[in-house]
Symmetry: C2
């Protein structure tokens, strides 16, 4: 079987006969007289069972057209013309271009997942990524490091530490920004981990993923990646951020502060949203513009010296309060010698009064217990009702407006990298370190719901 | 100390000297020449330490004015004129008025909480509630039953059963609707429990609470209660619903389906919002209008015979997936003989692959395991990635678009009232019974976020 830039069968024949290569600008004439204009995309071999031609339209979206619907394909501009041309272009611009390293950890964006078998093949190489999205060469001098290739649901606090060490190494090597390609399921956890593990960052650390895999016409991978490279190369802030699609329609992305973000939808491209904060910036990947929209906690400053404290305690537990919560579960955690407990409480930060004795015992056993709220929006306030006051008396640490997940990461980091002394843990938990606590909530921080 | 309709000290003197009683329409002239016009509210004794006059303004909000700021108070219309007048009015309208029972369980709305000591005093009587909100007499013939007086964080599945039995008794006695006054922390759990426990309802069951206690000028209790009575007395639907403030500004409330609602803010009056659904109705408590805005699952029909199946299994656990989740916690639940596990997974319904063996063991031990998503919005879909498929193979039941909390209540109800056979549990969990599963998600079901 002939394979031509990842294409096979009829498509390979058609493209080879016209001398058209991925990266070329083409006009696709369909049998129903539709005319499509765009850049021919390389077709990863793994998806080549379907006989379709993939082109990237001017709006940045990829579209796949089945070959039996194609009347003709015409070469408009041979932009590919062998790699030498592109390479020399990069070299030409290289002197002015910022260096950006993409660290690939796995997930939909960086891996080729075969949906038939579930097999995950290794992540993108520099060649693959720049062949796929040629404009990245105009934004940065790219280096790609494949650190791991795992689903993000399999990430552990140990992985966070490993990623932190490698990001730190890149930062101290003098790059203008580091991108971490990551599965979306637990991306906010890892972005929070990197916020705490590397502080006083001179440059941004940008997490990026995709909700739709890159073989689908509706993929958000291209826009998200271009945006991530723009932010890594040029943004004026130096925080651990997440760059993802903003809305289902408009072609822009948002930059969220890692410690203030949540994946709020199982499948939408605009699943990632800031909670108790507004996005730091809005990015237009076509115009290549970054517009600041929120508060900046740390500015880009190459003269800063970052600190790495990348140890995370794996014996931290996140439990959710629910009406029938069984105190024996908390007793078990104490008996087993766990190191810290985050409670995702109800309302202003409550849990059933009947479990307070077990919580007190945890604190007495040197296990810090932190209260957050399953409401997600707003602050906990444990001084309003007697349940809250009883929890404070038992030694529970109020989590402010931190998301339960962020409090979990922060506690794991404090216990692993700073201290296991309960009093000191309380001081660190209640102190704003990297923007994770936001005292000021305006009315507009709350979303507008479907009835409004 | 003189106590005059709950008022004491200077305020009591002033009101008594003018012959003004709660319920009267008054004009309050302040020393800064502000003039306020409204209904004098009775002042609960427990709050009487502050020397303030409380009046209800035309917009429905209560405002408290310190007596030292008051120049004069004038009687405009003696609407109170002794209880006989109001009573005769009620009696006059009584023949046409629907009967509504308010079952009080505790919480901010139904209890008088002393914030100094944390003491909770018993809930409202019929006299107290109608003295406080006289217009309720025009909406319904009211009966009040004080069932319990507890903070909602202390509610358990046993309490749900107790409430269900009492609501069922009221429904079968022929009332036009039942209101359950409930603390807000776990109101959505109990509203879900009542949706499952009493099916084929002829009339609505309306949960109501307040985010600000009734002694505060900004209280939402009055609006929420008027709306709840309107819904209980007149709404065309017969479901377990929640009636709470809609927005921080506009004076209307929303009716949410109990199984599709979440408390999404720790303190705002508009904390309650529909998730993966839109509110059933919008209520204007001033114009006394109910406007249907969403899908109705069950219509009001007094000829229907309700079924009561009010047993809930207390040995159900809700656990949240997080990157460091320890498999020994699941092993512990299995070893201890728990009856069911809800997982609040990541993304489309995932958890770390390393814990799947423990999950398989749970299912093999006749413990149903249900997967939901911490994203909250959207459906789980466990056929997209290999982790999901492995979980399905292990016997995990996909939770559709159910909120984790609702799946928890539903599983507790199925195990307590229907069956403990894992196969049958799966059938019940994946079947839509009372509107808890919503296949159709339009784009507009997702909120608009602060950046939009």
């Amino acid at each position: 079987m002939r394979v031509y830039y990842g294409y096979t069968g009829l498509v390979a024949e058609l493209l080879a006969s016209r001398g058209i290569k991925p990266g070329d600008i083409v006009t696709l004439v369909l049998k129903d007289n539709t005319i499509l204009h765009g850049i021919l995309m390389p077709r990863p071999v793994i998806y080549s069972t379907s006989q379709a031609i993939i082109i990237k339209l001017e709006n940045g979206y990829n579209i796949g057209v089945r070959v039996d619907k194609v009347l003709d394909i015409q070469l408009v501009e041979a932009r590919s013309a062998g790699k030498s041309l592109i390479t020399s272009k990069t070299a030409h611009m290289g002197g002015d271009l910022p260096r950006v390293t993409l660290i690939s950890t796995g997930g939909t964006i960086a891996s080729k997942v075969d949906y038939e078998t579930g097999a995950v093949t290794p992540a993108l190489s520099v060649d693959e990524i720049t062949e796929w999205i040629p404009e990245l060469r105009e934004i940065a001098l790219i280096d790609v490091k494949e650190l791991m290739s795992i689903f993000s649901e399999d990430m552990t606090p140990q992985h966070w530490g490993h990623i932190a060490e490698n990001v730190y190494r890149e930062i101290t090597s003098g790059v203008s920004g580091v991108i971490v390609a990551h599965g979306t399921d637990t991306m906010t956890y890892t972005a929070s981990a990197l916020a705490f593990a590397i502080q006083n960052k001179p440059v941004p650390v940008v997490f990026v993923g995709s909700q739709r895999s890159s073989d689908r016409p509706s993929t958000d991978a291209v826009f998200n990646l271009i945006s991530a490279f723009l932010v890594a190369a040029r943004a004026p802030f130096a925080e651990s951020v997440i760059t993802m699609h903003a809305t289902p329609s408009d072609p822009y992305t948002l930059v969220h502060r890692g410690v203030k973000t949540r994946k709020m939808h199982t499948s939408r491209r605009d699943a990632f949203q800031s909670i108790n904060d507004i996005p730091i910036a809005r990015v237009d990947p076509i115009k290549r513009e970054i517009r600041i929209t929120g508060r900046i906690f740390e500015y880009r400053d190459p003269s800063k010296t970052p600190t790495l404290r990348g140890k995370f305690d794996e014996k931290v537990v996140l439990i959710k309060a629910y009406p029938g919560i069984q105190e024996e579960i908390i007793d078990f955690l104490v008996d087993k010698g766990f190191h810290g407990i985050i409670i995702e409480g109800t309302g202003l930060g409550h849990i059933a009064n009947r479990v307070i004795d077990s919580i007190r015992r945890a604190v007495e056993n040197n296990i810090p217990v932190v209260m957050t709220s399953q409401c997600l929006f707003g602050h906990v306030n444990m001084n309003v009702y007697s349940t809250g006051r009883r929890l404070l008396e038992a030694g529970v640490i109020p989590g402010g407006d931190m998301l339960p997940e962020v409090a979990y990461v922060k506690l794991s980091w404090i216990l692993g990298s700073l201290t296991r002394d309960v009093k000191e843990v309380k001081e660190w938990m209640t102190r704003n370190l990297v923007g994770e606590l936001n005292e000021r909530h305006s009315l507009k921080l709350y979303p507008r719901w479907p009835h409004e």
